[in-house]
């Protein structure tokens, strides 16, 4: 059970118990619904964006501790970031867990680092990245709409 403490660190358990920004945003600028069909995790991500900056981001849904805490920490990390910085952080986080994709230099993970223990549990990586993929989908959809205007 000791090795599991690496994965289930206090911070993670705390975010699971008291998820931050766990709420709906009415009339959001961006929204996406993400699922992990394998384990039944479901998550909704809401976005408010002003002048290219993420003013507010929140989530709702049901998932495991890794999924919930990752979503909670994501909302804290994203608030106030530009869209471009948010994307870079997503890429950096994704790379840290999967070693896939390009690794953006100079994008420190900060508090998200505690989640990188998931790397040693390959079947759980999807739990940690679900919220981020959902955020990415919400943002891409939003950008898609912007370009068609």
């Amino acid at each position: 059970m000791e090795n599991l403490r690496e994965l289930y660190q206090e911070v993670i358990l705390d975010h699971n118990k008291n998820p931050r920004n766990f709420r709906k945003i009415e009339n959001p600028d961006g929204f996406a619904h993400g699922t992990n069909p394998l384990c039944g995790d479901q998550i909704d991500v809401y976005l408010m964006i002003k002048d290219g900056i993420i003013e507010d981001v929140s989530f709702e849904g049901a998932g495991c501790a890794i999924c919930t805490s990752s979503a909670s920490m994501m909302t804290l990390a994203l608030k106030g970031k530009t869209e471009a910085d948010a994307e870079a952080l997503f890429n950096s986080f994704h790379h840290a867990l999967t070693e896939e994709g390009e690794y953006p230099e100079d994008v420190p993970l900060g508090k998200l680092k505690v989640l990188t223990g998931v790397k040693d549990y390959p079947v759980r990586v999807k739990c940690a990245t679900l919220a981020w993929h959902t955020f990415d989908a919400a943002l891409k959809r939003l950008q898609g709409e912007v370009t068609t205007e």
């Binding site: 059970m1 599991l4 358990l13 384990c39 039944g40 049901a62 998932g63 501790a65 999924c67 919930t68």
Partner: protein, 410 residues
Amino acid sequence: MTNSAQYNIKAIRNDFPILGREIFGKPLVYLDNAASTQHPTPVINAVKDLYEQNYSNVHRGVHTLSQESSNLYDDARVKVRGFIHAACVHEVIFTSGATESINLVAQSYARPILKEGDEILITHMEHHSNIVPWQIVCEQTGATLKVVPISDRGELEMDQFHAMLSEKTKLVSVVHVSNALGTVNPVKEIIDAAHAIDVPVLVDGAQAIPHIPVDVQALDADFYVFSGHKIYGPTGIGVLYGKEKLLNAMPPYQGGGDMILSVSFEGTTYNQLPYKFEAGTPNIAGVVGLGAAIDYVNKIGLATIAAHENGLLAYATSKLRSIDGLRIIGEADQKAGLISFVLDAVHPHDIGTIIDGEGVAVRAGHHCAQPVMERYKVPATARASFAMYNTYQEIDVLAEAIKKTIDMFK
């Protein structure tokens, strides 16, 4: 609690080499048997011996090895016949698994007879593999899929079943033992009611076959399906039992070698049963391994195994019930082989990972039964499922591991 004196659990465990493994330095406690069971040495050796001594293609050569392989292959069919008490050996069709068996019946039995307005009747507790093949055939034919509801306890609403069964029903397909809830369904009552209005019944025996002695003639089942890998045999091998009369009337499922008597470009004469439904070179090692698995189960006796497993189930049920914040999903009167549960404070996925750290292997997820998860409003469950080699001590380890998990999340 101790294991029954007559039941030589030590000898049985010694027959399963993998049970000697350690996981994170702890003895393996394998409680994911409903997903797939482990293999005893006689099964491993049967496959090894085949490859080392007798292997060749079956039913095709006059040479010695082909003859030996064919004999081993045919012997296994005889063993399956005996195990499920089929009337004839040729009513046993080898498939790749329960999934293929159900698809075969959907496409070769149901599809040719279904018309718009006809109905297939299944239940709310089916595995996806006893749902999707019927959805496909309904889409192909315009027939409708009807679903018998289940109660909060996880039992079929039999009143509803009787009410839904009608002259529109062309086939009933029902799981014998639910892989998500552990419920043992009253398949005899279902078959009798369906036969009263001439409706055939397929029984999905994937979870029943390792726990419950099955007599397809006593049940009067029209089709009975199962997979080898849930009864200590290899993967990729399964069985479709079908009544001779029905199988004879069905068109082939796939075309190819072995399933024909003669081929010309003017026309082809299909082979007789069972070969009509076994196109192509079969899974010879899988069949031989399944035969050895049945021998092994017979040696210990399925009734003896069932008694041991029922003891484990009762013990585990009372043990888990006493854990605060644990809820068992599926509390039918008649259960076999498994317990599904959720914790108030911990997601099943986390339970699975954390108790793996204690060497305990359980399944966490929707168990290919998403409608069941929806019915009980849970995203997933953790499931501990038992086999002949599990012990009471292992249930204690499971309970302790669950308690540690809860403490960790406090």
